[in-house]
Symmetry: C2
Subunit: 244 residues, 2 copies
């Protein structure tokens, strides 16, 4: 089931089976995971100062775990560090969003092309499974905005990772995940309501089928379109969050 050979991948290494980062073990890892989640969800807003005392209290731990988590997050680009002046949640802007979307499209383009070219039967099956779970998550969700659903989120992430899972480069997978995280943050900050379950399922199904049929160009086009649509939505939202 797992594709990467495991060894360098930082984020997914502590995932129980696939997707979720429960990352246990040390306090530092727990704080890292929770804080990452809080930043992605917008609970810790862009630009917010991350004072030691505040975080120690919030996560009920001492100084060291907080600091270790912050240092990891800063390498992930979710937090910025200014020597001697502390940490803050990295800012957002229209320009950043555009840069992000551009970069993501480049990276996913390569990764997807490679994945389709080299994906084996295992990859196909993992993809089908990921799609099945995603569509079920969408159907099962009774919320008017299922994007809030933690399960949907995990399935959606897993699907996109499964797509490129056979690209043959842990580096690329890592990069793609970083970019996915960032996009995810913008999506949530924009506060977009996901209103059309049927279309959402079909869009993902089309991507999956094209991938499995090894129609490389089609798949890439569909995925780019999918991502572009998301980016447009984010940018055209009232976007009170982006001072721009």
């Amino acid at each position: 089931m797992t594709i990467a050979k495991d060894g360098m991948g930082d984020e997914m290494s502590n995932a129980p089976s696939d997707g979720v980062l429960t990352s246990s073990g040390t306090m530092a890892s727990i704080v890292y995971t929770r804080m990452r989640s809080d930043i992605l969800s917008g609970d810790l807003g862009p630009g917010a100062r991350l004072r030691a005392e505040f975080l120690r209290q919030r996560y009920a731990v001492g100084n060291s775990p907080v600091r270790e988590a912050l240092n990891r997050l800063s390498s992930d680009g979710l937090v910025v560090r200014e020597d001697q002046k502390g940490f803050r949640v990295s800012a957002v802007s229209k320009d950043d969003m555009l840069e992000l979307a551009k970069t993501r499209s480049w990276i996913e383009n390569i990764a997807l092309t490679q994945s389709i070219a080299h994906g084996d039967v295992e990859w196909e099956e993992a993809l089908v499974l990921a799609f099945h779970r995603l569509s079920r998550a969408i159907r099962n969700s009774d919320a008017t905005d299922y994007a809030q659903d933690a399960n949907w989120e995990q399935c959606h992430r897993a699907f996109h990772m499964a797509l490129i899972g056979a690209c043959g480069s842990r580096w690329l997978l890592n990069f793609a995940q970083q970019l996915y995280d960032q996009s995810d943050r913008y999506w949530k900050l924009a506060g977009i309501k996901n209103t059309d379950p049927g279309n959402d399922i079909e869009e993902h199904r089309a991507i999956m089928e094209a991938a499995i049929d090894r129609r490389s160009d089609d798949t890439v086009a569909l995925l780019q379109n999918h991502c572009q649509k998301v980016a447009d939505l984010v940018l055209s939202s009232k976007s009170s969050a982006f001072k721009d």
Copy 2:
């Protein structure tokens, strides 16, 4: 002179003008820089355990700075963390080297194409300057193996960064730098002697000129060729460092 808009870039942010990472400020940052350098140079060999006591003594600091540096390096992929079992220098292998070379070629391909498409006059000038410094570093070096020369190393890195400096994505620049670092480590571990200064200069000159002439395809081809040659050398070296 600087191209990136500055803000998220982690590595280069503390560089005085360009290239060198003296990254001062906090002890943690100093240790991070020195340790990174020690790993890249092979002074801390692949797979080596990084015990707290050893590092505290080596860098003459307390526990916290060492730990912060380790956490940052682990996100960079130069160090692997195993919760509750400490840190070690990330391993090397033939497969990893191939994966790395592949990924680097993909990333640099995009970055270079974009840089050539969007590079302005400032970019051209920075590139010319970087080349000039590189060629001077090569000529001035009296060592039989100028790759040992710290100055050459910095100039070489600066040149390759200048090439893609106008790609328009800080993400991509960051990724490219990570991959460059890793390649650099393999290069040094392989212990290759750089014996042909003249050819080295001309190879870089050809790349620079093609880039400035905006011959996108040519430039990419030249760069790929350049990187491929390096990868082949590394893999065909006696490579006592790679268990396979």
